[in-house]
């Protein structure tokens, strides 16, 4: 009589074990990646001083006159990211406010998946779009724009992250309780006043989180900048000339035939570590922000 019961208990334990194991795989993979990054980065810094790495203004590890300053790659990354956010934030937020506060329910249901298609386009396609469509188009207005440049890569990256901002912000706006909206209307606010002065501030934590996630996506984006932004590490904030981002550098070295186990090869781990630190900090800020500032209603 107890045997079927025991069997079901055993089954249950097996299934639970399997589930726990699946969860563990992701954790172990993450730990493994972090371990490789740390150990390779560590041996990199045995040969290169960390002060040079953080303060030198040139990055030329593959050449005769070697410099290991990560700054040009970091500025390249931040420049493209800044351009992307400068485009995506206003547009994404406008879309979010419109969809949440103004749009007809049916229209919203139709348009939201369409917007999300933007996020489903392979980034390599975006890259070629930037290189072969956006850059020549912009050169019509800005003749001194180089063939590879931060501007068009950044703009196209901005288009790519619009859905992240619009979709997550829209969720945040939509989640603001109706009582707030009704109170605002009740004291005679217009729709615009309600949206901008009541709903947006109330949803600000969600909006900030969406922007941080978008930044983190842009910082780590690889294909678009590798194809369209150039491969020349240079310390500049000029968006019109070729630059190189951290991700592009990693691609460039991994595709070439730099001997494994050489200092040149380890540079990509140091660069990868820098990138990881960036996105790690950003994700933590967003997590912290969500916890700390989420407005509680009801």
């Amino acid at each position: 009589m107890s045997s079927p019961k025991r069997r079901s208990k055993l089954n249950k334990r097996l299934i639970e074990g399997g589930l726990a194991f699946s969860a563990l795989i992701t954790v172990l993979t993450t730990l493994g990646i972090i371990w490789v990054l740390i150990s390779e980065t560590f041996s990199f810094f045995e040969e290169v001083s960390i002060i040079d790495f953080l303060t030198d203004t040139q990055w030329t590890p593959l050449f005769a006159n070697k410099h290991f300053g990560i700054l040009p790659l970091v500025t390249g990354t931040l420049l493209t990211t800044f351009i992307a956010i400068a485009l995506a934030l206003p547009i994404g937020l406008t879309i979010a406010i419109y969809l949440s506060e103004y749009a007809d329910k049916r229209f919203k249901r139709a348009i939201k998946p369409v917007l999300e298609i933007l996020a489903a386009i392979p980034t390599v396609v975006y890259g070629y779009f930037a290189l072969t469509v956006v850059t020549p188009f912009l050169q019509g207005f800005i003749p001194e724009l180089a063939g590879f440049n931060a501007l068009s890569a950044g703009l196209v990256m901005g288009i790519m992250i619009i859905p992240i901002i619009s979709s997550l912000s829209e969720d945040a706006l939509y989640a603001v309780p109706n009582s707030l909206r009704e109170s605002a209307y009740g004291i005679g606010s217009t729709r615009l006043q309600t949206s901008l002065r009541v709903i947006v501030p109330a949803a600000s934590s969600g909006i900030v989180v969406s922007v941080i996630l978008a930044i983190s996506r842009a910082v780590g984006e690889t294909m678009i900048v590798a194809i369209a932004a150039g491969q020349q590490p240079r310390l500049t904030l000029n968006p019109l000339v070729p630059i190189e981002t951290i991700t592009t550098y990693i691609v460039q070295v991994s595709l070439g035939d730099v001997p494994h186990d050489s200092l040149e090869y380890r540079t990509i781990f140091a660069a990868g570590m820098t990138l990881f630190v960036f996105t790690f900090i950003l994700n933590n800020i967003s997590y912290w922000f969500k916890k700390k500032f989420q407005e509680q209603y009801e």
Binding site: Q58, W59, T60, P61, L62, F63, A64, N65, K66, H67, Y128, L131, T135, P136, Q139, P143, E144, A146, G147, F148, G230, Q231, Q232, P233, R234, V241, P242, Q252, L255, G256, D257, V258, P259
Partner: protein
Amino acid sequence: MMKYQINILVLSTFLFIALSSCNKSKEGGEGALTGEVKIDGSSTVYPISEAMAEEYRVGQPEVRVTVGLSGTGGGFKKFCRSEIDINNASRSIKEEEVNSCGEAKVNYVELPVAYDGLAVVVNPENDWVKEITVAELKKIWEPEAQGKITRWNQIRPEWPNEEIHLYGAGVESGTYDYFTEAIVGKSHSSRGDYTASEDDNVLVQGISGDKFGLGFFGLAYFSENKDKLKLVPVDDQNDANGKGPITPTLETVKNNTYAPLSRPLFIYVNSTSAERKEVVDFVNFYLENVGILAEQIGFIPMEDKEYEEAKVKFTNFVSQKAQ
């Protein structure tokens, strides 16, 4: 990279038509062969070997010929590990590569296949550069220029006060080794703050979209993109091999007046691979047909006599091995 494949496709179709009309392609071999021939190495030699591979497939469809592009140096690393059968090289094998092949007990033979010139190019909208001297190129590209020579008027005062954007072959390519050797005077030694890529199409794309760009790569890539780029005549200030600035052409590369930027291209064949029938057959086919093909894709063929010598050299190499 997408564009690249299309180029190759167009190219090979073109070659296919061109060659089958010459009726040369039937010379392939002694019955149907099977197997695989792995080629890697220089991106400069790539178009030739890829075209040869395409053409060879017509006569020997059962032999898979694959051609990669890791740069001459990258190719030699694989070659000395016996991962590939043939290495495309845009320069001769270096001392340390000879050693690493020796350590791995890899024997090989060097076969010249064509000549190439290194083209110095600017954007078609660039109306100030009419010619350039080797000394000026050195001033632009030497390691000391890094971070210092950044504007056009630093090279010649009458050139515009605009930032110069440099594009050049990546450090793993034979083109890079050859250019630095010829211009800077020391192989593998140049500034590092330029757009460096092993893929010449990236460079073509970069310079063709950049009014203030200047770059260098194999002449064949210029021939394919004539309409998007402007070729710069180079003056080595040595009147013994032609006076004044000289534009690279079939003629000037072959008679070496386009000095110092013309060079021979090679393929290297691994001796163990040369024991395989399909490899021998492919190499013979290569030497037989490369003259005509090379010219069609923008390279400069060698004299017929030189191809004959290469064939004899290879035959001896194979028979030596057989003993």
